[in-house]
Every structure is written in C-alpha cells, then in structure tokens.
C-alpha cells in the first residue's frame, strides 16, 4: 500500500473503507461462484467501468494488474492441457477480476482510512485490545518497509565498495544493527510526539 494510493474525489474514493472492503470480499466470493465465461466477461466490463469512474491512470492500473498476466501466460495453457480451455478461461477470469478489484481498493484507499477502519472494527473489543496501538503498529509496519529497504540497499552498496559481496554476514549484521538503531530512534520520536503518554 506504500505509495500506491492515487488521490481523487470519485465515488470509489469516497466510499467508506469498511464498505469498500466488504464489497470487495463479496465480489471476490461471487466471482468464484460464477460458472459461465460470459458472466465473467460482464464482470470484467463492470471492473473496467469502476476503474474509469475512479479515474485511475492506465499506467498505475497496469503496474498493479500487469504482473498477474505474466502468471496467467504460463498457468492458462497448463490448466487448458489438464482441464480444458473453458476451465482455464474461468480460472484466468476469476483471478484477473479479483486482482483488479484488490488493486482498485489499494489505489483508492489511504493507509489512514484502512487504519481507522480497523480501529473501528476493533472498537467492540476495546476492553482487551487498544485499537489505537494496533493502528499505530500497522502504520509503523508499513512505514518501516521502505526504511529497511533503504538500509539494505545502503549496506549492499557499502559491502560492494569494500569488496565483500559474497559475505552474508557482512550483509546481515549491519542490516540488523542499523535496523535496531532506527527502531530506537523511531521510538524516541514517537515519545517526543506524545505517543507514550
């Protein structure tokens, strides 16, 4: 979800996150139950219309959906070989629709909306679970992915500069140590922003 959100004010963007997630789940189940190719074709048209309504640029949509097509290029002929072209077509259609709908959710929903949604879901359990803390935990997990990726990339570069490319130890130790330092610093920053009150 990091960096995938495409800002907008369309109906798809404005739909509450929990409703969107519920509709996504129902649609995926429904698509799994459809048994005719024409039905899946109609669903694909609806999905395309939703992308148009959300005004998601073609490039951003392709980035999300493109990789699944590569898998289908291999999987469809194999499936056709063992179960026939109709079954292979149904499998491909279902997968494509599910991935496209999930991508649409990601492209039109902010991380904050997802966190707030989960906090709402957890609210009935507030006696046992601190929903704010769980939300913060999820946000930090998402935030730390690019941070750790940057650490790994810097360590690989340093390792290359010192001619120790082959050493796994020369990668693992500095990455772990620097990640722990970063975690410590983020903890301090959270405290400074009043998060350990």
């Amino acid at each position: 979800m990091i960096g995938l959100y495409h800002p907008g004010h369309s109906l798809v963007h404005r739909t509450p996150m929990l409703l969107k997630l519920l509709l996504l789940s129902l649609a995926v189940v429904l698509v799994g139950l459809l048994g005719q190719l024409w039905q899946l074709g109609a669903c694909l048209l609806v999905v395309a219309a939703l992308f148009l309504a959300a005004r998601v640029p073609l490039g951003a949509a392709w980035k999300q959906i493109g990789p699944i097509l590569w898998i289908l290029v291999i999987a469809v002929p194999l499936q056709a070989l063992f179960a026939g072209w109709t079954t292979a077509g149904l499998m491909a259609g279902r997968l494509l629709i599910a991935v496209a709908l999930a991508a649409l959710f990601t492209l039109t929903t902010t991380v904050t909306a997802v966190l707030e949604g989960f906090q709402k879901l957890l609210r009935p359990f507030r006696r046992w679970v601190d929903a704010d803390r769980v939300g913060l935990l999820l946000a930090l997990t998402l935030r730390c992915i690019p941070l750790v990726a940057e650490i790994v990339s810097e360590v690989i570069e340093a390792r290359r500069a010192r001619g120790t490319q082959g050493s796994l130890l020369a990668l693992a130790v500095p990455v772990v140590v620097r990640s722990l330092y970063a975690a410590d610093a983020i903890g301090e920053a959270l405290a400074a922003r009043g998060l350990d009150d």
Partner: protein
C-alpha cells in the same frame, strides 16, 4: 515566552557522566547550543521534553516539572531530530502531519483543515498524498517541521536539524526556524547559522563553558577548538 529552567541537573550513561550540575534559565527566543561530539548538548535538549530524565536536579518548562508533567510538557515542546526519516511515522506526507493531531479530541474536519494549512505553509501541499520516504532530504526535514508545528507547541527544540542537508536546504531550514514565533532552541555544528540568535551556550565535557551573545560565546568556542 516560556521559561526553561535547569536546576542542578546531572546525567550519566552508565559510568560516563554526560552532564554535570547544569544550571540554566532559558528565556530568550532564539537559543543556540554548540559543543563537540559527545559533549552532552543532545542530552541537554532531550531533557527539555523528557526524552531523558535527569539523575539529579530538575528541569521545568513554563513552571512544570518535566518529570511529573510529561504529557503537558510534550504538548508544549516540539522536537525535531537530526534524521527526519526516524521522525516520519506515517506512509504519506499528509498522514504524517495529521498524525500529530490524533488523540487531541479534534474532529476529522479540524484535523484536515489544520493539516492542509501546515502543508501549504511549508510548500508541501503538492506532495500531500505522496509517500513520505520518496521526498528529498530537505523536504523530509520540512515535513518533520510541519508535523511538529501543526501541534502548535510553545517551544521548538531542534537537534542538529541541518546536519544531513546541503548548504541551501540548511540555510532555508534555519531561516524557517528563525522566523517562528515560538521559542526555538537549536543544537548545531554550523556556527555561521547562529549569527542572528539571541543567545549561544557552549557545552564542553558536560558543563557550560560559555554562555552569552553569539559573538562572545562563539569566540570562546573557537578558542576551545584552536
């Protein structure tokens, strides 16, 4: 202007004494703190919003003992770190600024309005929905500043905020800090940036060795370095 008082403050990390019997009354609007690496200047400013607790002595901010009123003090004291990457918590720029306002009992509309105003003030409104980690170093430090100031603190403490920046970004961050209406306390190694400050404090081996107007204090510091 808030008053920050250090009364007989000492602090040690294990066996190593980093601050010894500090007695300071900080009332000026622009205060610079300089000193060699490991001299204790970062520890000194971390005491102001309770990131570090003194072993002996007390620190008070606006009459509130930091050790006993940590929540109230942290609302008054915004803190900017050297590396903004460690300060950015949320994935996108707007979400990180808005994060400061959570748990403050504000409505969604108030949070959105204040966030938007802060982003516009720092020229980040074009990047509102962009991933924070893809900003440049200077923009990240601007984001850190926006995220602190949206909470409307009375005091802004910055620990080497320009160390990782190029000269132009360092100058622009310093000018922003100088232009704030809040009391600003800056730890830095870039002595030329302190020329317009009201007071400069020099720390050496955990003690205040010079304290006064920039010319006078920086002169004493340069002698120490010679």
């Amino acid at each position: 202007m808030s008053t920050i008082d250090f009364d007989g403050v000492s602090h040690a990390f294990g066996e190593r004494m980093v601050l010894q019997d500090i007695r300071l009354n900080l009332t000026e609007q622009r205060i610079g703190i300089v000193g060699a690496n490991g001299s204790g200047k970062s520890t000194l400013v971390r005491l102001i919003n309770g990131l570090i607790r003194p072993d002996t002595g007390t620190v008070t901010v606006g009459g509130l003992d930091v050790a006993r009123h940590i929540k109230a003090v942290r609302r008054q004291v915004g803190f900017i770190f050297t590396n903004p990457d460690n300060q950015i918590v949320m994935p996108t720029v707007a979400e990180d600024v808005a994060f400061t306002l959570r748990r403050r009992g504000l409505t969604s509309l108030e949070i959105t309005t204040r966030t938007q105003a802060a982003l516009e003030r720092f020229g980040l409104d074009q990047h509102a929905d962009h991933p924070a980690h893809r900003l440049s170093g200077g923009q990240k430090q601007l984001l850190a500043l926006a995220a602190v100031l949206v909470g409307e603190p009375e005091i802004v403490v910055a620990d080497e905020p320009t160390t990782l920046l190029d000269a132009r970004n360092a100058r622009s961050i310093t000018e922003l800090l100088l232009g704030l209406s809040q009391q600003v306390i800056v730890v830095t190694h870039q002595l030329d940036l302190l020329a317009d400050f009201d007071r400069v404090i020099v720390i050496e081996h955990g003690r205040v060795v010079a304290d006064g107007a920039p010319d006078e204090a920086l002169g004493a510091y340069r002698e120490l370095l010679a």
